[in-house]
């Protein structure tokens, strides 16, 4: 199309029957070539994981908030000694570990779907997800490391 080279002296309109304006295509339109079947159950397991981890997290997170913020004088009691005392017990270590992993994976998968739904360009989509995965792996590993290597006698 040589629409760009047309002189603009016909000030009425840039567009006519032979040079129609561009239409606005929807993002990531489906065409005959689109369906490339991956044949995995990843999305199925992801969907199921969200439901199951959600149920467990309700108990874990509400219990956590209750202990940390409400019982025994509320938030003012939290200090190094309080955390050290709790993590001396394998039960609270396991509680915090499960909560960390489930909450991080649940949140990361939720954000992944948000990015999939809202990112407009494939490039944006890719880099936002890379950022998300990096942050998730970092937080999960760091949290796990702290829970297992916590030293109450640190100076």
């Amino acid at each position: 199309m040589s629409a760009e080279t047309t002189p603009v002296n016909d000030a009425v309109s840039l567009y006519d029957v032979d040079h129609p304006a561009p239409v606005i295509e929807p993002p990531r339109k489906r065409t005959a070539k689109t369906p490339k079947a991956t044949r995995t159950n990843f999305e199925l397991y992801g969907w199921l994981f969200m439901r199951l981890s959600g149920i467990v997290l309700v108990v874990l997170v509400l219990g956590h908030l209750l202990i940390q913020l409400v019982l025994d004088g509320g938030v003012s009691k939290i200090g190094f000694a309080f955390v050290a005392g709790r993590w001396a017990s394998p039960f609270w270590q396991a509680w915090d570990l499960v909560m960390l992993w489930l909450a991080m994976l649940h949140g990361a998968n939720g954000l992944r779907t948000v990015i999939n739904d809202y990112a407009q360009r494939d490039n944006t989509r890719f880099w936002l997800k890379m950022l998300l995965y990096t942050a998730t792996v970092f937080t999960v590993l760091l949290g796990t490391l702290v829970i297992f290597t916590f030293d109450p006698n640190i100076r």
């Binding site: 309109s13 840039l14 567009y15 006519d16 029957v17 129609p20 304006a21 561009p22 239409v23 606005i24 295509e25 929807p26 993002p27 990531r28 339109k29 489906r30 065409t31 005959a32 689109t34 369906p35 079947a37 991956t38 044949r39 159950n41 990843f42 999305e43 199925l44 992801g46 969907w47 199921l48 779907t113 999939n116 739904d117 809202y118 407009q120």
Partner: protein, 258 residues
Amino acid sequence: MATPTVDKAAEAGQPEPGFADSPYITVTFRIRRFNPEVSEDASWEDFQLEIDPKERVLDALHKIKWDQDGSLTFRRSCAHGICGSDAMRINGRNRLACKTLIKDINPEKPITVEAIKGLTVMKDLVVDMEPFFQAYRDVMPFLITTGNEPTRERRQSAEDRERFDDTTKCILCAACTSSCPVFWNDGQYFGPAAIVNAHRFIFDSRDEGGEQRLEILNDKDGVWRCRTTFNCTDACPRGIEVTKAIQEVKRALITRRF
């Protein structure tokens, strides 16, 4: 008919009883126009017309096209809610123009009419339906069987027929798919209409291609992208419980796996 009545009433100095009974009211239609041969921008244009509020939006569009502006472009075929050609966004909701009475959508305010969203607008209210039908074709919406053709019809019990009765009502108007926020932003998602039509065959006792269809919908752009916002169920002019059908496909996928 209306004009002489008005004259008589003016002469008499008071409204004639017949005039007060006139069913006609003045309604403003605010239509989103787009003509690529004139401008690259879409714009809202107001049309005022006298119309019986018991008429449909499609009748109003006809009046505008026939009497006021012949360049107004929209699709319609049967005009009785079966062909699914005239789905459009009326007062911000996807409806069939031929099934929407003007009195039901508050004619005191301007009635906005625009093309359905998520598909390329070609002109005024006409969109490119090709991506929508591509998704429809991708779920293989036809009977798949093995073995020899029976010499008589394929028998089915009333209960088996009832299982997928709701999803047989689809007229492929795209009101559901073009109301889905996931589809708006990512046209790779199959969309509610394609899933509804897959559901129609997946749960048909005579069909043997259910596994293939489930496999197709198990993919990354399949049913798992549904966020259950219920926009599709609200939009369906046939009253199909679209979100429920999508959930039933999800359940079938999960029970198949476990």
